[in-house]
Symmetry: C2
Subunit: 151 residues, 2 copies
DNA sequence: TATTGTTATACTCTATAACTATA
DNA sequence: TATAGTTATAGAGTATAACAATA
């Protein structure tokens, strides 16, 4: 099949979009699964997810429950666990006495970095094993993957 | 930066490999998470995973437990649940009286297809929203993603 | 005696409902 | 009266230990 400049400007056919979407989804889910299996956890996945969320700044348990799509009691339990482990702190909300602010500690931030290093180590060894051409193709597509992952 | 033919034949620097690996891993895990959140499940993730494994052919509970990395009692529970729902059947092993063969039913196979359609629907709408150039870049890289996901 | 599968039991994460404190 | 957070309680998934059947 010959690919002309004109072809490059045209969208893929719905059929090809469907096949591409299926392949990308499957590959991403398999990679994700492998990464999770390869790295040993100091904290459980749902705890890691909360820690990562707190990197952006302090949040209330309600906000964390909403964004993580779990119930408030579940988030209470998770936050309590993280607090016991010294990874977050609870403090009074300055404006609203009902609310609580959950903040990442230095240890929590270090835990995030440690886990990410573990996860990246496996993927880096895989990427290093690709051919130069495959690495270039992947580099060109990573921006697209990030766009798919966003919002 | 100018990219010559010679550059194309050279591997990326370790630093660039590391950055690429990090970006790819993060994007894949975010996409995977989004897909899981977007689709509503008729069966739980660990049950889906077992159904998918049985697509290749019948397996014993022991084999399923090993490959899914759960304990034998957990797999007994999962298989019992799937059997109750009519998605798999248990039968005697022809050669070894101790073992049991777990086989996918027609309903189980249909369930797999239904869930995959749900998952692909979200991804297809995302891919359809990409520019033609982005779609081409993604198509070129999907083989690399599949290679990363394999083995 | 070793292995497969199951049952017994306990722990964790999840949820809904009820309770307390504050707005 | 409504909302944030917690506690009470129950349901589902996981694990280890113990047991029955078979190799």
């Amino acid at each position: 099949m010959t690919v002309t400049q004109q072809d490059e400007e045209r969208s893929l056919t719905p059929r090809r979009v469907g096949a591409l979407a299926e392949d990308v989804r499957l590959a991403c889910m398999r990679i994700s699964r492998r990464v999770r299996f390869e790295s040993t956890y100091a904290v459980a996945p749902h705890q890691f997810s909360v820690l990562a969320r707190l990197e952006e700044g302090p949040r209330t348990p309600r906000e964390l429950a909403d964004v993580e799509k779990v119930s408030p009691p579940s988030m209470t339990r998770t936050v309590t666990h993280l607090e016991t482990d010294g990874l977050v702190t609870r403090s009074d909300h300055p404006d609203d006495g009902r609310q609580v602010l959950v903040t990442l500690t230095v240890a929590g931030r270090e835990m995030l970095h440690t886990i990410r290093r573990q996860r990246d180590a496996w993927m880096a060894s895989r990427v290093a094993g690709l051919s130069p051409q495959e690495q270039r193709d992947l580099e060109r597509a990573v921006a697209v993957l990030q766009k798919l992952a966003a919002a």
